[in-house]
Symmetry: C4
Subunit: 206 residues, 4 copies
């Protein structure tokens, strides 16, 4: 399995999963006069659509970025990647549940767990490939590898924390779900600092 | 993120969104004898399917054409492009609403806003990349860059105008939704003139 | 628009349309004991799934084969190709109607018309590109170009004829829908003869 | 038809089929308070989603691996491959039936037959291409070709056996459905031995 075919297949699953999200935004049969009110009632689903789309977009960029450091893939990396895809392809379900029940603690916890799952699997894939230079350049510094683990793994903890907040204040959970992708989308000094870490001691450029 | 991977991912989302549109054209369970009448009743949905397919086709061609001028992409371009994709992937929803309520002002306005959204995001992506030759050749003439902004951005205003017409005469809105893609699909002297503008002063060929 | 990107986008639409067909094969909620009978009742849908999958497969192979002769694409070819894709992406709808009403003349006629539409659009794309060597090699023999028109266009007439048979004997229509793709899938002396026609006078090899 | 385009199209169908599986995991409209219990009731569907995703993943890896040995494809290989795709694209249906009726013998048998079908078609594609070095290197040893037949074909028999177990003990069938992909995912001495067989006598490296 070449790395490029693995990437193309992964891109396909990301693109399909992201596009299927909209199937959950739909109106029941109703009269023209009731349309305005029904569309307003759909706003939570639209909001969850936007949040999930942004989060999958962040995953996709992260996936592409760290695979860019891989020089080869092996059987274990392939199946860790398939685990990432299984979890990404699953996201339309928790998205649908949260869209229908935006303030229910169970929906918030399910959504948070699903998001954390993708991050944990992706972090495992990175850690497996980077450990001891197994699939990446042997010149990559352990510090760089660890910082990417932290950068990619921390959101999992934040999502889970956000999910547990749902029993106290579901609105706070939603704030967390919005804040994490915003952190990664908006240019940010911290990301620059981490990715600016020389990935090989002595070489400032990744 | 290489430009070619961005394009391939975008193509995937365009292809999936365009193909999901048909899921909204369907019949309820009914007797064979009622089939003819039920199919006639579906004609508005089929019409909206055709219009949206044509409009997304125009977006896809435009997206490909202006990205063709890009020499590189950066983080901001990536996320502006993801915004375009978020809006393209959303189109099956307003398409479905308009198909079910072809003459309801609210449906017409939603549809027009969604179309305008894609055009505005795409124009922003172009303007960001072309400004000062940021992501395109520094030899591209500012005049060419501005004309593309006008060509890509004007439909947004036309769609919104068409959408607001819906409160007076929804049929006029539909005419607008048909006219705009037709303008871009049928060979047209104006498009030729704009794209014939030398993109570099002194060079007649784009 | 490069030919290879047009092909990749087309492949995407073909692959998605072909895979969405299965969404129409599904069971209503029912008790375990009723499962066997319900699955038998689904057999017409499964049969129509298989037929449409085979027909789209034949289209895909034909599309790939004749585009293989193109040396370039232009704006008109692009939009004729988009028309092919619009009609291919539409096929899940007539497939669903025929699956639900396998012996209703209206369903048979709709299905036949949709199939004929794809063939007519594809033939128009080929005829446009091949005429006078517009997009193909100028050395292609007119005889070869005309034979491909016949080979690609005849099924349209056969499908329409089959569709009209539906008012007399819907089973005969189904036989036609099975026979046409079978003709193209099973190795066949006639296809070999047509594609064996030298596409350039004096050169025996395509 | 080039091998690479066949592979890309196949990858597309695999990716779409695998991603559509989740559409079957969904909740009916219900009150927030009923959410926890409803999610627990969905666990069988989630389980079947995971199993099918893993099995399609195994198919995808196998498909890629054995096509890697092909040096060319012909018309027959193309249509055998389309048969594989028809059966892969069909999998969401038996997955849905098994998810709704996890312990019904008819659902178990349908699922087992669908899985066996993909393996049989894939084995036929390999056997056709490998026989007498028709589409693979003529230096491939017959022993290697036969071992791949055994490795790819045996699961079909195991699935069918598992499916028939459903009349006695459906749980045993589920165990079989879990065991087969696990066998192929977890690194395993037997797979290593088979794929370690020199594919050309005298050459230790595949």
């Amino acid at each position: 399995m070449s790395k490029s075919r693995l990437e193309a297949f992964s891109d396909g699953v990301f693109a399909i999963a992201i596009t299927l999200l909209v199937l959950d935004v739909k109106l029941p049969p109703l009269a023209d006069a009731a349309l305005g009110r029904a569309m307003v009632a759909l706003l939570p689903r639209v909001g969850v659509y936007v949040i999930t789309f942004a989060i999958v977009g962040v995953y996709w960029v992260a996936h592409h970025t760290f695979l860019g450091y891989f020089e080869r893939v092996d059987r274990t990396a392939l199946w860790l990647n398939n685990l990432v895809l299984l979890l990404v392809a699953f996201l339309p379900f928790p998205t649908s549940v949260l869209g229908a029940h935006p303030l229910a603690p169970a929906a918030v916890l399910l959504y948070a767990s699903a998001l954390a799952g993708v991050n944990i699997a992706g972090t495992a894939l990175w850690a497996y490939g980077a450990a001891g230079g197994r699939l990446v350049s042997s010149r990559m510094s352990p510090l760089f590898a660890r910082r990417v683990v932290a950068l990619h793994g921390t959101p999992a903890a934040v999502y889970l924390l956000g999910g547990m907040l749902g029993h106290l204040a579901p609105v706070a959970s939603i704030v967390v779900f919005v804040a994490v992708p915003t952190f990664f989308i908006v240019p940010h000094p911290l990301i620059a600092r981490v990715t600016g870490v020389p990935w090989r001691d002595g070489s400032p450029q990744a």
